[in-house]
Point group: C2
């Protein structure tokens, strides 16, 4: 400030500033005063600038947290220090004070000012709250800022101390503990915008259906287009653990009954059952077909003296349909067995098998059922300790009593099957039953006719909640009779030669059935669409991902 | 005989027949004599004819066994009397005197005169001797004749009394007991000539190789053409029980380590890895591909937060090769897992897994191993409690020390792999080892390079008896880096878009590997050809049965 300025200021101040006797100060006195004030102001400003500069320099140099956060380079297995990662499910208030490392996804983060950040971390179906809180010695503001900028779904490596929150963390599965973060590294960053929010994708269907809903429903198409991301919802985590469970229960039971696991070929030289709905494969210089069922081959294995066999494998159907219960590829749980006297021996095995599966789900996998139930509510699946077996004519009678018009030997439409399921549920209190003795005419050529009434056959379907999940029969094990029946059905015996030949060297009476794995899940869990029960479903329009 | 004849005869006899005084008999005396003789002859003949007629009539009318043997009509499940069938394996001398029913195949039958027939009955891998012996009250000659005419491989239903034979029946697995047959029914007749003898088909290979052998060797082609029949040999019964065992041991171990079973699609919209050796499928109006490996999909499932997964499923390779170790379709035992620090965590899991499988085979399935060993002799499979891990450069050094000329980063030929197997066996006394740190250049684009030497990679193969049975690696889990590496390998990133996209929403470091089920059996059991380890093998020329 130049002296002229000082003079001007002194002039103005003179008008208002009085000395201790109430008289205005002299101009010189004022000048002096202003000079002193300016000097002080300047020195204070300088000091502040210096201080700020020093502070800035010092904090950049000694961000006291800088080694405790950041983005890690791609893990190329550089080293193996052997630090244990904790499972979220194992953390509880009882371990408060313990320091742990966890690897988890950032499900959500919530910044609070510039000194705090709340996280919800997720591992599979478990979630826990984590906090980054600024302090003078361990957590710098830079670290807080870094934390606040981590994108959802990134994978982080966290060190922290287990703490007991003031109130239970209701939004997390671990409610009585949280993590006070001491180190925080991003090991894999989620790029770009998420296709939808996992929260929305996990919401009960009913919440979208309310008139006043503010939520964006994630439709099935969007989910399947982004299936890898969609699989991360706790509901999907549970659905596929349950899929695993059904396979495991199926296998464990059958192994305990002397069944052996087999693997039959999926590329076939002849299209079974006349070639309808079969995918063709270019096979070197010739043409081959994808197996529509392992049935012929598991029968052949039975003729090869492996008398009780099962297979869990892919089944392919070139059906150009888009219903809620058809896919072009699914997993068949198949079994085939020789029997001694009567094909009902097979039904006895199936009966015990299904009761084993349903009971196993209810007991061992109750938590997963509960998770799915929250999103896709379903009535408890009812079943009887000894499964109801209805004969076809009884079902027809029951349907007729309830207004359905049909002939004795008519096939059941999907709609009528559902109606039957309802009627059976009302009358017998079960969501699962076996329908035996189907009309011969509606079954494939290899089905053994009923010995007493040639209009019926030794064949059966099983139903869950009124939808078919298994089809099976006693098969014809006599080669000449098999050819006779094939001809009746217009099947050229030469097209099934290697199948028929399997019975020429002696064959035991036998039968079995195939269960659609995804159907069992779909109907048990009431998922609304079979695609929800398949990791990467296939239909005529979906081949990706 | 007319009188003139009598006279002629009398004339002749007169020349040689003398009376009691040494004088020839008079003609009349001779005539008389001859008449008496003829009368006696006639009456004897008549008596015999009458007796025979009476006997024949009586036995036809009262074949006292007629209800106890015969050919049964096709079992159509007419009734279910609930008669228990005994398992051959459960029969022993301790139960002598007990009456039992068995269902079995006639392996061989040996008639002895017209009053007896010996049988060798077979159930899976068990055999027992059975006897039909004529007696006056229970077993008629007709029944014996029926028994003698039953064709081998027919299925019979037998009632009999357990007896203790005078000497052990060395040709059967049940040696201290036999069945004295009281009822014998054919329930399914083997038609025509058997393609080969099961006895020949079960003979140790060495017996055919002897110079003086009188046996007809059953070659692999003939076996596979008649596979259903071939599967009945006790050796094949054992091989496929062992196949079941490997799957079971694999699964049980992984389940105990928190792995979940998954099922990924086999029909794909994009050919992985550039489209070589991939089968094409006509998929409605478009084209699809058969999965050459579940790898991309199991990685995607890991990115979907199922962190430890396994799959047992079909794998398809359109390789136009006819080696002893290639098939166009086989069963992959695959696993994939996220790891925390280092891909050697995966090798640790594999290590424990294989030791679990090998130990399980030796202990629980020793009897089956012994059966296979008789036909296909193999040296005991040696393995270490902690599996040997060699690095590639160490293997190269070992090979060079032993005269193999190769560069540091050259791939291993099949021949060199075998040589390495021998050298490792000599040096480390193991038939199983892991070869780690393969040269980057010989591995697929998604393989993570080694962090210290970019010429190597974080990838590995496992070997059994010098043959590769598993290939695996740490995979690149960063999408940008993955694209970079794909381009280096000439893979168009747009062809793998949905795969790369799986890593964009954050992906944990992960890896895994795929085991060829049939290879494990083939090499463990030294079967000489992988086709022997597959129920219905597929190669470029074999699609049937």
């Amino acid at each position: 400030m130049a002296d002229t300025q000082v003079e001007e200021v002194a002039q103005k101040i003179q008008e208002v500033v009085l000395d201790e006797n109430g008289q205005p100060l002299s101009k010189n006195a004022l000048k002096k005063l202003e000079k002193e004030r300016l000097k002080k102001e300047r020195s204070e400003k300088d000091a502040k600038a210096r201080q700020e500069k020093a502070q800035a320099q010092s904090s950049a140099a000694v961000d006291y947290s800088k080694d405790f956060y950041g983005k890690k380079p791609i893990n190329r297995s550089e080293d193996r220090p052997g630090i244990k990662r904790e499972s979220l499910a194992d953390i509880s208030a009882a371990r408060a004070g313990e320091k742990v490392w966890i690897r988890a996804r950032v499900q959500t983060s919530r910044p609070t000012g510039n000194k705090m950040c709340f996280f919800q971390f997720r591992q599979n179906s478990s979630t826990i709250q984590g906090l980054v809180v600024f302090d003078d010695t361990a957590i710098s503001k830079q670290m807080v800022k870094f934390a606040q900028n981590i994108s959802s779904e990134s994978i982080v490596l966290v060190e922290g101390t287990i703490a007991k929150p003031l109130e239970p963390v209701k939004s997390c599965t671990v409610q009585d503990a949280e993590i006070m973060i001491t180190q925080l590294f991003v090991t894999s960053e989620a790029q770009g915008r998420l296709p939808f929010s996992l929260e929305d994708a996990s919401r009960p269907e009913a919440e979208f259906d309310r008139e006043d809903t503010q939520f964006a429903k994630v439709n099935l198409h969007t989910r399947l287009e982004n299936r890898v991301f969609d699989l991360r919802t706790i509901t999907n985590q549970a659905i596929f653990r349950l899929q695993h469970a059904v396979c495991k229960l199926f296998r464990d039971f059958l192994e305990s009954k002397g069944f052996m696991e087999i693997h039959t070929p999926k590329i076939l030289g002849a299209a079974s059952e006349g070639g309808a709905n079969v995918f063709k494969v270019k096979y070197f210089d010739t043409e081959a077909f994808l197996a529509q069922s392992p049935q012929f081959y598991k029968q052949m294995v039975v003729c090869g003296d492996f008398e009780r066999v099962f297979e869990i494998g892919s089944v392919f159907r070139a059906e150009n349909s888009f219903t809620h219960r058809h896919m072009t590829e699914f997993i068949g749980l198949d079994l085939e067995m020789a029997f001694e006297e009567h094909y009902h021996e097979i039904l006895d095995v199936f009966d015990e098998l299904f009761v084993h599966i349903f009971t196993g789900l209810e007991t061992t996998y109750a938590a997963d059922l509960e998770v799915v139930h929250r999103q896709y509510p379903f009535e408890k699946f009812e079943f009887l300790p000894k499964t109801l077996r209805l004969e076809y004519h009884e079902a027809v009678a029951l349907l007729r009593e309830n207004g359905v018009e049909m002939g004795d030997y008519d096939d059941l439409s999907t709609e009528v099957e559902r109606k039957l399921g309802q009627l059976v549920k009302e009358k017998y209190k079960t969501d699962f039953f076996m329908l035996d003795k189907f009309p011969l005419e509606v079954r494939p050529f290899y089905t053994m006719p009923d010995p007493k009434n040639p209009k019926y056959s030794n064949s059966y379907d099983f139903f869950m909640r009124g939808e078919e999940i298994l089809s099976g029969a006693q098969r014809i094990h006599d080669p000449d009779y098999l050819i006779e029946r094939a001809q009746v059905h217009g099947v050229d015996p030469s097209s099934i030669k290697s199948y028929v030949d399997a019975f020429r060297m002696g064959a035991p009476p036998h039968g079995g059935g195939g269960i659609g794995l995804e159907r069992v899940l779909f109907f048990y869990l009431n998922l609304g669409n079979i695609r929800r029960a398949s990791l990467f479903p296939r239909d005529p329009r979906r081949l990706l991902p």
